[in-house]
């Protein structure tokens, strides 16, 4: 758990040190570009970077711990982390924590709703498919879920936006809420939020339908072939109860334990979908921070995501113990 966390952060920290184009370079480039911009766009010579006093460069490096050996800097960063100080964004010049906490609920909102949608559709669908294995319904629904599986979420998002947003104008063209949110009544707000939620959530969830549905179906079918199912029938248990009590309880075990893993991934947001729907979430922030070499933000998001996934794993283990009496914490 803790070694995993250290391993992941150390690895990414190392990478940030070795990829070309560090934050200082970036900063200087931007300064030089804005400088030349003010000068009237004439001759954008990058030479202006040398105009920076050498002392300023060093103090900048010192500020970001770039002057220290990597391991030393890593431990400094880790020490700051223990006091919940994730540093400041190079780009926005505000604390990383503030940057993340502002966007995190947005990603979590879409992620959790998508996640709930996926589970509430896939579990009953998988059960229905298992019971009617080999029927037209089974084949038809397989076709649909695999169609969703084979289209990337952002591509589906674009299609949905074009069709229902631009063409039919049923839904807004992205964003988290309307700009007029503040003026809306209570129910108006609810309606507005639902309108803005609908398409992104479908884009989020569509890809996960296939694996979850098929997992549910196969798990139930496998359990229906077990000896204890025959025992239940031999006792005179009605077939509905054999399926929905005896078999389903067993086949939910893999679904439940997957829940923890999935929740960590889902809450981390998705860059491409956030980009398509113009949602200012954590996925989008993570991507732009990598492009901007905004390493404090990169590391901050990494900490959050790693923490979430590790928490998800613990949640999985707890769920395992709850649903499967054969598993006990020792």
């Amino acid at each position: 758990m803790i070694p995993t966390f250290l391993g992941i952060t150390l690895l990414v920290f190392t990478i940030t040190r070795f990829v070309p184009g560090g934050p200082i370079d970036r900063l200087m480039m931007e300064m030089s570009m804005s400088g030349s911009g003010e000068a009237g766009g004439g001759g954008g010579s990058a030479e202006s970077s040398v105009d920076l006093p050498p002392g300023a460069l060093d103090s900048l490096k010192e500020h970001y711990h770039l002057d220290k050996p990597m391991i030393h800097a890593y431990f400094l960063w880790l020490g700051d982390l223990l006091t919940l100080d994730l540093g400041k964004s190079f780009k926005y010049n505000i604390p990383v924590l503030e940057l993340i906490t502002k966007r995190f609920p947005v990603s979590m909102y879409f992620g959790l709703i998508g996640f709930a949608l996926a589970y509430s559709v896939c579990v009953p669908l998988g059960v229905a498919k298992a019971i009617r294995h080999g029927s037209h319904f089974d084949f038809g629904s397989s076709f649909l879920v695999f169609l969703g599986y084979s289209i990337p979420g952002w591509a589906l998002g674009l299609l949905l936006l074009l069709l229902f947003g631009a063409e039919l104008e049923w839904f807004p063209l992205g964003g988290f809420r309307s700009s007029s949110w503040e003026q809306l009544s209570f129910f108006g707000r609810i309606g507005d939020q639902i309108e803005h939620t609908f398409l992104p959530v479908i884009a989020y969830a569509a890809g996960s339908f296939a694996s979850l549905t098929i997992l549910m179906k196969n798990s139930l079918m496998e359990n229906l072939g077990q000896d204890y199912i025959r025992t239940a029938f031999a006792k005179g248990v009605p077939s509905r109860r054999v399926i929905f009590s005896h078999a389903l309880r067993n086949s939910l075990i893999p679904i439940c334990t997957g829940l923890g893993h999935a929740i960590g991934i889902v809450m981390a947001g998705s860059y491409l979908i956030e980009k398509v729907f113009n949602i200012d979430g954590i996925g989008y922030l993570g991507f732009t921070s990598i492009m901007d070499r905004d390493y404090a933000v990169v590391m901050g998001i990494l900490v959050i995501n790693t923490g979430l996934i590790l928490l998800g794993n613990i949640l999985s283990d707890v769920l395992y113990v709850l649903v499967d009496p054969r598993i006990r914490f020792s």
Partner: protein
């Protein structure tokens, strides 16, 4: 045993399986009676149709691929094969109960023993939970589970194989069924546990008057110990029926003799154990005449051409062999 009407009559039972567009006739016309109060054994090798016969009685054949295509199974004046699903459900576990070969997998791993053992009485007798639990404690104690009340909250994985089979027996007997079908109940267990389980079944059967056991096994020593009468099956057909005395004292069918000769005995110590030559053919490859002719030491041309009928040579002793008289 008794002059009364038999408890269960199986008449001309045919059960087939559709496997990859081919039809496997697992049971090809089996008829027998199960009398009140008796222990009837069915013995045969793997693939002889004995398990399929027992599952057919409770209509537990998975359909598809299996299907009971012909026959009657009469119980209490009704043909079980003609009952509705709901009527059949009321027979299962209440009138006819069954225990299986695999105690390790025959109990649901995620339910407590209490839930599983009380389920039949809750369903069939509509007892309230408290009474059902009392019955469960009673019956679990009767099958020899120590400290039964405390163990109700345990899960199957907390029991050993022998203990799980006791739980299975308790679960099967909790509604006091008239017939207990036991499909290889001791095959998966240690020899010492085997004896205990068999003794237990005998004891419990003795407690309820008129209840019968149909015991399916491939182990002749289990048959000798437990049964009043025996059916010998091969190739989905009954080859010989008789009392235990008939069968062990005067076996008529070459297959029965082969089975008896392959039991290790004191006087044959040091000698090579006899084995019936060849293997059971694949279900699709049984010969058209006598099913056993491909492995029989006394085979004649007639055996390959003409399928023998089941004939009664002495009272209650039936055999399916053209040459039974000459050979005995």
């Amino acid at each position: 045993m008794t002059q009364n009407k038999p408890l269960l009559e199986v008449r001309n039972l045919h059960t087939e399986f559709h496997v990859e567009k081919r039809i496997a006739k697992a049971v090809g016309g089996v008829s027998f009676d199960l009398n009140a109060g008796e222990v009837l054994g069915i013995v045969g090798e793997s693939g002889s149709g004995k398990s399929v016969t027992s599952l057919s009685i409770l209509r537990l054949i998975p359909d598809p691929p299996g299907k009971i295509t012909e026959g009657e199974i009469l119980y209490g004046g009704r043909d079980l094969l003609k009952l509705s699903y709901e009527q059949m459900r009321e027979i299962r576990g209440r009138e006819i109960a069954m225990i299986f070969q695999e105690p390790m997998t025959s109990l649901n791993p995620v339910f407590t023993i209490e839930k599983q053992v009380t389920e039949p009485v809750l369903l069939h007798e509509k007892l309230n939970r408290k009474d059902a639990i009392e019955r469960a404690v009673e019956v679990l104690s009767a099958v020899g589970i120590p400290d039964a009340r405390r163990r109700l909250k345990d899960y199957p994985h907390q029991f050993s194989g022998g203990m799980r089979q006791r739980v299975m027996i308790a679960m099967a007997l909790i509604c006091r069924p008239a017939i207990l079908i036991a499909d290889e109940p001791t095959t998966a267990l240690d020899v010492t546990i085997q004896a205990q389980i068999l003794e237990l079944m005998q004891k419990l059967q003795g407690e309820r008057e008129g209840s019968s056991i149909l015991l399916i096994t491939h182990d002749l020593s289990v048959i000798a110990e437990m049964c009043d009468r025996v059916i010998v099956m091969y190739g989905g057909l009954i080859q010989e029926i008789g009392t235990i005395r008939d069968l062990f004292g005067n076996p008529l069918h070459p297959y029965t003799r082969g089975l008896l000769a392959s039991i290790p005995r004191e006087e044959n110590k040091g000698k090579k154990l006899y084995a019936i030559p060849g293997n059971v053919p694949s279900i699709f490859d049984f010969p058209s005449g006598c099913k056993f002719c491909s492995r029989c030491e006394h085979v004649q041309d007639r055996c390959r051409e003409e399928a023998p009928e089941l004939r009664e040579l002495a009272k209650g002793h039936l055999v399916r062999c053209h040459f039974a008289e000459e050979l005995s």
